[in-house]
Each structure stands twice: as structure tokens, then as C-alpha cells.
């Protein structure tokens, strides 16, 4: 069990995170927040790249800083900017990282082809990464995070650069892995976590706003989401009157999705809220009451 125990992080007078308290058991956690909200700071504290100013993070009751390499041995991490050497092949780079992770050469040589196959890079495992696309690089990043069969897998924006097929494959992979490990996945793309996360953590104003299963989060807006069509000429009036969370064009009309505490019109029926509704409402219009 991983516990973030009332952790704060300050840089001088700047507050990066304030009094964050979280508990993680095995499963997938989606850390959802817009850029700059503090998710990377939290991720970096979880992987010991930065140290809390207040509070502590414990794994099975022990402070992760004190655990040191014993903790990092259990860790798989994909940073937001995955670093690599352009002149290395994926196989060579993974072999290098396996040495850093303390994996024996023999074991690494068996595991690397398997992992590269898992992320669909088996055909290019001996090609230099110089000419790889962003998606291919990201897949190398995912493979390296899994090298040591981590008990805690922390992925910062892991789907950046992946195409829809790769995203789907990645989500499937995470679901398979989630059985006996903690997976914390930071993203600002709702669809990345919507179908797979056991719980969503939302950060706002440098602290944790929610940590709930998706269903419970959606219930917060239950009966308050409405969807209706309006003519283009009425669109501006509509926007002013209602707290719209999304709008799209369909069959020559505007379709508005909005939040309202009361039924604005007896003909309009409320619709089921989605995680995206919650996200857009929270970060677009302020925290839910």
C-alpha cells in the first residue's frame, strides 16, 4: 500500500502542492488535471525525484526516501518527457536501463524482446531510434517502465503521441497489468482513463479535489447535465444563459451540453453525466459545489 501522507511541496513562496493525502492499493488510478495543476509534481514525489517539504510518502509503512533503492526497485516510471539516446537501438537502450534497474544481463536479454513485442516494436528493436516517430518513442518508454515488472507503475502522460489504435492497445495492456500492482496514470485526456481507472484523482488549486471511482464522480453531476439543440443565431444567447460544458455542430444545428441545478425547460431532459462532463465542469467553471 502506498500512502501520500499530508504532503506539501513549496519552492520558496510558491506552493506546488498543498496538503495532499492519498492512499493507493493495487489498481489503476487516473490522475486527472489540466497542465500546471501539480500532477507532475505529485508524480515526481512518488518516484523520489523531488522531496516533500511537509509530510511523507510511505510504501507498506516505510518512508520511501528511507527505503531508497529498495523502493525504486519496485518502481516503473515513464516521465512526461521520455529521455533516450538517438543513436541507441531500443534493445540497446533497454539493456542499459536494465543495468540501472539492477536486472541481470541474462534476464534482460530474455525480457527485452518480449516487451518490445508487447508494444509492437519487435521489428525495429535493432534500429537506431533516431528516425522513430513520437509514438514509437513513447512505446519504448512504456516498455522500459515494465522492464523490472514493477509493483508500482507511474506513468506521466503515457499516451502522448500514440495513435488511437496504440492508445487502445495501451489501455488493454494496463488493464492486464493492474491485477497485482499500483498503476498511477497522469493525463489530461479523459478518454485515457475513463474506461480503465478504478479511481480518478482530480487536483485543483494545488490540492486534491476528488479521489473517487468514476461512477461516484459522475453522480456529483447526476440530474444536472442537459443536452439540447439550438439554432446558430441563438447560440450566443444560450452561452450567456447556461454554463455550457461542451458544444458541437450536428445536422446544421448547435448541440449544447450544459450544467444546470434546475431544469431550464420542461421539455429538456437531463442526460447521464460523463467523466468528461465532470472534468470540463471542474476545470472550466470552478469546483463542484
Amino acid at each position: 500500500m502506498l500512502i501520500v501522507d499530508h504532503v506539501s511541496k513549496y519552492y520558496g513562496n510558491f506552493i506546488a502542492l498543498e496538503n495532499v493525502h492519498l492512499q493507493f492499493d493495487n489498481g489503476i488510478y487516473g490522475l486527472l488535471a489540466p497542465n500546471g495543476a501539480g500532477k507532475t509534481t505529485l508524480m515526481k514525489m512518488l518516484v523520489t525525484l523531488i522531496f516533500p517539504t511537509k509530510g511523507e510518502i510511505r510504501y507498506n509503512g516505510e518512508n520511501i526516501i528511507h527505503l531508497g533503492s529498495k523502493y525504486r526497485e519496485l518502481l516503473g516510471y515513464l516521465p512526461q518527457q521520455f529521455g533516450y539516446y538517438k543513436h541507441y537501438t531500443p534493445a540497446k537502450y533497454l539493456l542499459y536501463l536494465s543495468a540501472l534497474k539492477g536486472i541481470s544481463k541474462h534476464e534482460a536479454k530474455e525480457k527485452i524482446p518480449e516487451l518490445l513485442k508487447l508494444v509492437g516494436l519487435e521489428d525495429v528493436m535493432h534500429k537506431k531510434m533516431r528516425k522513430f516517430s513520437g509514438g514509437m518513442i513513447q512505446r519504448v518508454g512504456i516498455a522500459q517502465a515494465l522492464l523490472n515488472d514493477p509493483k508500482i507503475l507511474i506513468l506521466d502522460e503515457p499516451t502522448a503521441g500514440l495513435d488511437p489504435t496504440e492508445r487502445a492497445r495501451f489501455r488493454k495492456l494496463l488493464t492486464q497489468l493492474a491485477n497485482n500492482r499500483i498503476i498511477i496514470l497522469s493525463t489530461h485526456i479523459v478518454s485515457d482513463v475513463e474506461s480503465i481507472a478504478n479511481e480518478i484523482i482530480m487536483i485543483k488549486d494545488k490540492t486534491i479535489l476528488y479521489k473517487k471511482p468514476i461512477r461516484e464522480l459522475c453522480q456529483l453531476l447526476s440530474g444536472r447535465i442537459y443536452e439540447t439543440a439550438a439554432d446558430f443565431q441563438d447560440a450566443e444567447i444560450f452561452r450567456k444563459r447556461f454554463a455550457t460544458i461542451s458544444e458541437k455542430q450536428e445536422n446544421g444545428q448547435m448541440i449544447f451540453r450544459f450544467v444546470s441545478d434546475e431544469q431550464p425547460n420542461e421539455n429538456w431532459k437531463s442526460v447521464e453525466p460523463t467523466l468528461e462532463d465532470v472534468f470540463l465542469h471542474v476545470y472550466g467553471e470552478g469546483a463542484l459545489a
Binding site: K44, V47, T48, L49, I50, F51, G68, S69, R72, E73, L75, Y77, P79, Q81, F82, G83, Y84, Y85, K86, Y96, L97, A99, L100, K101, G102, K105, Q144, N148
Partner: protein, 377 residues
């Protein structure tokens, strides 16, 4: 061990090695080749070199007063050879030159005399006239040994000269030209080593930073200990580069044929300077090799430190250039060049070594401590 080897291999990038090869070639052509291709440089240096070698065979490592008398007789025989040569020359007879003493004191502003002198010395290259100059230099130096004590203003220096005069080392037949040749070569070669070491080791952290690899590396089991492993890799690379450079140096240097002088004391009447310690030439060589390793390690420690804190290559180069310049200056002046010669105060040399070692070590220890505490934002 695997991480160490990976880091070591990462340092030896083929592009950097090619660049070092190119710089070494330039250095060789600009500063070094002269001292290999022209040793001993002209005459009478060549004659002095041959005569001092012959002196080792005749007298051993030192020449005492009795042997000096023998040497003077040898000189006399050479003068007789010169006289015989002059007598055999019709031109000499016409000009009224019958002895070496007359030849030596010729008024070279007189065209006839100048032409004759030119013919004997430079056109015919009569060996004996060159040899006699070498003999005269040696005799002059032997007879005036210790007289330069007044040129040293410092009491410690004067005391050291007195000490050297009091023991037999000063009678060593070690010639200045062997020392000068070795000194010029080693000091320039050391600058090349400093540059090579810095070029290789400065990449130890900066490449990871520029490739965004640090956050990934520091979250592995190795974690923040990677700094120490990288430091070890940089030091191993330094040892490797320095050793290879020294081996190459020796490959060339042995061609200069100075091996006969290795067991001789360099505190000789026939050397440029005296030294703070009682070195034989081979002892001095070992000392300079140790000095070269120290300078190379100091350069590597600074290089590793700045490689870790520099944000990009421009700031890294900006930080390292003054250090390379300072180290090279000290190397050329007294850290390797003229090492422990008494014209530089002993404490200046030892003090500079200690200060350089202390500062570079403090920098590294400070950074090692920081590595354990610093946030990697």
C-alpha cells in the same frame, strides 16, 4: 559494474575520439614534432649530446676533478686534431692561420676570414671544430658550477644550491639539452592530455541532461548513486586517456635516444636549473608522470562537476575553458614544465597541487551531497 562499464562506454563516443585524434595531430605538428624530429637541435648540440654520452662511458654518471683533468686532456687532443686539420688546409696557410686558437679568435668582420670560417664550419662541416665548441661549453660549465648561486635571491634557493654543491650529484654529466627536450615535450603533451580528458569527461552528465534521461536514470534502482558511478567512469576514462597518451608519447620519445641519461642526477653542473629534490632523470620522469596524472584527474573532477550543473553546452564550455586555460598555464609554467626546478619556490608548486586537488575534490564532494538532497525538477 555493468552500469560503470556502460557509462564508460558512453564517454568514448567515436565523434569525440575523432576530434581528439585531430587535435592531437594538430598539437603534434604545431608544438611537438620539432622536438622529436630535431633532437639534438643542430650543432654543437648534437656534439654535446654525443660527447656527454661518451663521458658516461668513460667516467660513469659523474665526473670528478681527476676525471675532469682527463676530460681537459681529451679536449687538448681534439685541439691537436684541429691544428692538424688547419695545417692541411692551403687556404689557412695563405691566411696565416696555423692553430685552433688563431681560428677561434678570427676577426669575422674580415671577409676573407669570414669566408674561411664559413667553409670550415658550415661547408666542410669539419666535426672537430663543432666538438671543440661542445668541449668548451662543458669545461666552462664545470668550472663555474655553483657560481650562479647569487642569481637566486631567495634564501631557500641559495641553501638548496649549497646543498647540491656539497654532494657529488652536481658532477653529474647530465646535459641541459636532454632536460630541455623532455621538459618542452612533456609540458605541451600534458596540455594535450588536459584537453583530451576534458573533452571526454565533460559529456558525462550533460548528454543525459540534454536527452532528458536524468529523471529516468534517477528513478531506477541505481538512482542517485549514478553520480558516483559516473564519476568513477570519468576517472577511469581519464586514467585510460592519460595512459594511452603517455604510451604514445613514450613511443615517440624513445626515438630521441636519451636512455643512457636515465640513471644520472639532473642536479648537474651542465643542466639549466637545479631542483628541490635529488632526482635522477628516471626519478624525475616518474615524478612528472605522477604530476601529469594529478593534473589530468583535477581536470576530470572539474569537468564532471560542471557537466552536472551546466544547463547546456554553451555554459559548460564557458565554465571549462577558463579551467583548462588555468591548468594549462600552471602546467606549462611549473606543474609539469620545470617541475620542482628551484627557480619556482617549492611551496608554489606543492601549494598549487594541493589547492587544485582540494578545490576540485570539494566541488565533487559538495555535489555528491547535493545529489542526495536536490530536487530534480
Amino acid at each position: 559494474m555493468r552500469v560503470f562499464l556502460y557509462e564508460l562506454r558512453k564517454l568514448f563516443n567515436w565523434k569525440v575520439l575523432l576530434l581528439i585524434l585531430f587535435i592531437s595531430f594538430l598539437f603534434y605538428k604545431l608544438f611537438l614534432s620539432f622536438y622529436f624530429e630535431n633532437f639534438p637541435n643542430g650543432r654543437p648540440a648534437k656534439d654535446e649530446f654525443m660527447i656527454t654520452k661518451e663521458m658516461i662511458n668513460k667516467y660513469g654518471h659523474e665526473m670528478d676533478e681527476k676525471e675532469f683533468q682527463h676530460f681537459k686532456n681529451w679536449y687538448k687532443q681534439k685541439k691537436d686534431e684541429a691544428n692538424a686539420y688547419l695545417k692541411s688546409q692551403q687556404d689557412a696557410e695563405k691566411l696565416g692561420i696555423t692553430t685552433y686558437e688563431q681560428f677561434r679568435q678570427l676577426d669575422l668582420t674580415n671577409k676573407q676570414y669570414a669566408d674561411f670560417h664559413e667553409k670550415v664550419v658550415f661547408v666542410d662541416q669539419a666535426d672537430v671544430f663543432w666538438e671543440l665548441q661542445a668541449f668548451e661549453n662543458i669545461i666552462e660549465q664545470y668550472e663555474s658550477k655553483g657560481r650562479d648561486i647569487e642569481s637566486y635571491t631567495d634564501e631557500d634557493q641559495q641553501e638548496r644550491v649549497k646543498q647540491i654543491m656539497a654532494n657529488n650529484d652536481v658532477n653529474s654529466v647530465f646535459p641541459y639539452l636532454v632536460y630541455e627536450n623532455y621538459n618542452e615535450l612533456t609540458r605541451f603533451w600534458t596540455v594535450l592530455i588536459i584537453i583530451s580528458v576534458v573533452m571526454v569527461t565533460c559529456r558525462v552528465h550533460i548528454t543525459d541532461r540534454l536527452n532528458n534521461a536524468i529523471s529516468l536514470q534517477y528513478t531506477t534502482k541505481t538512482g542517485r548513486n549514478l553520480f558516483s558511478l559516473k564519476l568513477l567512469a570519468a576517472l577511469a576514462a581519464t586514467a585510460l586517456i592519460t595512459t594511452v597518451q603517455i604510451v604514445i608519447f613514450w613511443f615517440f620519445y624513445l626515438g630521441n635516444g636519451t636512455q643512457a641519461f636515465f640513471p644520472l642526477s639532473i642536479n648537474s653542473f651542465y643542466n639549466f636549473y637545479y631542483f628541490w629534490f635529488d632526482f635522477t632523470f628516471e626519478g624525475y620522469i616518474i615524478t612528472t608522470v605522477i604530476a601529469i596524472y594529478i593534473v589530468a584527474i583535477v581536470a576530470a573532477l572539474f569537468s564532471v562537476f560542471f557537466s552536472r550543473i551546466a544547463q547546456n553546452y554553451i555554459t559548460l564550455i564557458g565554465s571549462l575553458v577558463p579551467i583548462v586555460v588555468l591548468l594549462s598555464y600552471c602546467t606549462l609554467k611549473y606543474l609539469v614544465g620545470e617541475l620542482f626546478a628551484i627557480l619556482h619556490p617549492l611551496m608554489l608548486t606543492i601549494g598549487t597541487f594541493l589547492v587544485l586537488i582540494a578545490i576540485s575534490t570539494i566541488f565533487i564532494i559538495y555535489r555528491m551531497k547535493q545529489e542526495k538532497l536536490v530536487d530534480l525538477i
